[in-house]
């Protein structure tokens, strides 16, 4: 086993060891955080987890009444055309 190989093995042991330690710590820290937050805050409306990195679509800025009115108008229009 040459020097590079022994360096590589050292690096792997230290590296994977550290990655696991770090992420295990993070698992516990995250669980603790969630527990604290969920205990000490009033229930709030939660957001469902989103799927992808995609930018969220802009919030619908149309008044629901308007939307409803337009829907009705379209429905009326379509039903007329079918006749």
């Amino acid at each position: 086993m040459n020097e590079l190989m022994s360096q590589a093995i050292d690096l792997m042991v230290a590296g994977m060891g550290f990655v696991f330690v770090f992420l295990v710590v993070l698992v516990f820290a995250t669980l603790l955080m969630s527990k604290i937050i969920l205990r000490y805050t009033k229930p709030e409306p939660t957001t469902p987890a989103r799927t992808s990195r995609a930018k969220p679509s802009a919030p619908a800025s149309v008044d629901p009444d308007v939307a409803e009115a337009i829907k009705q108008a379209i429905a009326q229009f379509r039903s007329r055309h079918k006749k």
Partner: protein, 440 residues
């Protein structure tokens, strides 16, 4: 007439070398893959185009002022450079290719201060840095480019699925085996005399296994800048190939029954948890791995801007105008490392071979880790989500979902796979920090 001769002797047709022809063909191939096959086009279009620009004969777009001066080799400039670079060259001596190589070697090995002086001398004689060289220095040499991309990625990342099931972080840890296993692979190639690598080069190649573009570019710019071109191309190409690389490995390591495991629905995650989580990650970095601070600092900053809800205009800019601008320059800068004399090398073939090993090992490690975890947890974990731990967000998570649906058409794994998927980003950044700490 004399002028037309100048134009002809200065033309590409007169000067082009076979290496440049090959590299331009390779870059056209990259563009084809990016545009026609959809291989990570946001990066590979600029990288491929930058590669063509870098290989234009005589244009010297990817060379520094001093390198351009050495290429053109006017005697009085060479005499001036000889003093700075400590090359033995007498004024008036003929500039043979060997002499040029002497100068090039001296420049490559020179200290920061000498490089800076040599470039000043070259600029005094009217030579300038090539455009791509300037881009590279500002965007990658300073490390700012990959860090800003990482900030933007943070601003686009939703940690909700991870927060709903934090133990999937361990899958992201296991998949980093791809990184370190590849380092071993490089050492093996070296041991058997097939290729030569230093430990810095081996580590930089290993990071391809992180399956994360900006992390790969950051690490290789720090540890082995001369391999950056091959490493970045390899990383992005294999990320695009994830839907082909992963499924066979996933299927080989799991039974159909395991693949059909249905996971219970994720709990809803509160806004507050999402705001605090990036700070928790940051504090962990503060306490345990300061060397990961640039990468994970920018990543968590982007994520905090996204989630905190009070700086939407900044978050929006980080996800759009800023990341796009940086992507353009980052791609062209990476392309500048695709010059023929640096890229057409046996090492590059080694990097391409090791890169696919890295993805495979990472995938396998993630799947096996998930199987292992099933011995210890009561909620069953579908091992298919383990493969998403290599990152390649969100492609790897989609692959998990697709393979899961094949085994059981009611089995929607996408959300469950997003947890290990983003955990893989954190894991690779941690691995990057460890490597820089120990070797940098």
């Amino acid at each position: 007439m004399e002028k037309l001769l100048t134009l002809w002797t200065g033309s590409g047709l007169f000067n082009i070398e076979i290496g440049q022809v090959i590299m331009i063909a390779v870059c056209l191939g990259l563009l084809f893959l990016a545009i026609r096959k959809g291989f990570e086009p946001l990066l590979l279009v600029p990288i491929g185009f930058g590669g063509i620009l870098a290989n234009i004969p005589e244009a010297g777009l990817a060379l520094s002022a001093a390198e351009n001066a050495i290429h053109i080799a006017k005697p009085q400039v060479m005499a001036a450079l000889a003093g700075v670079l400590d090359v033995s060259y007498e004024a008036g001596q003929a500039v043979t290719p060997e002499v040029k190589d002497l100068f090039k070697e001296a420049y490559k090995d020179a200290s920061y201060a000498v490089v800076s002086s040599a470039n000043t001398v070259a600029q005094d004689f009217g030579h300038g840095n090539g455009m791509l060289q300037n881009f590279y220095t500002v965007i990658i040499g300073s490390t700012i480019g990959p860090l800003l991309i990482f900030m933007g990625v943070g601003a686009m990342t939703d940690f909700g699925p991870l927060l709903a099931n934090p133990k999937t972080l361990l899958l992201g840890a296991a998949a980093q085996f791809g990184i370190f296993g590849t380092v071993i692979g490089a050492a093996l190639l070296d041991m058997f005399g097939i290729l030569e690598f230093t430990i810095l080069e081996a580590a930089a190649i290993g990071i391809i296994g992180g399956a994360d573009g900006p992390t790969s570019i950051y690490v290789s710019s720090v540890l082995a800048p001369h391999l950056l071109g091959a490493i970045a191309v390899s990383a992005y190409a294999y990320m695009a190939l994830v839907p082909m690389i992963q499924p066979p490995i996933m299927k080989a390591l799991t039974s159909k029954k395991e693949r059909a495991i249905k996971m219970s629905q994720l709990r809803p995650v509160s806004k507050k948890e999402k705001i605090v989580f990036p700070l928790v990650v940051l504090i962990a970095v503060v306490l345990f791995l300061p060397d990961a601070a640039p990468l994970l600092g920018m990543f968590t900053f982007g994520n905090l801007m996204r989630e905190c809800g009070v700086v939407e205009r900044l978050s929006d800019t980080a996800q759009n105008a800023l990341i796009n601008i940086v992507t353009i320059f980052l791609g062209l800068s990476v392309g500048s490392k695709l010059m023929a004399d640096k890229f057409l090398d046996a090492q590059t073939l080694g990097i391409l071979a090791l890169g696919i090993v890295a993805f495979g090992v990472g995938t396998a490690a993630g799947v096996l880790m998930a199987k292992l975890m099933n011995y210890f947890t009561k909620e069953p974990i579908n091992p298919l989500i383990g493969s998403a731990g290599v990152s390649a967000v969100p492609m790897a998570a989609r692959v998990s979902n697709k393979v899961g649906l094949e085994a059981n058409p009611q089995n929607f794994l996408l959300m469950h796979a997003m947890g290990p998927n983003v955990a893989g980003v954190i894991g690779s950044a941690v691995a990057a920090g460890v490597m820089i700490k120990l070797l940098g």
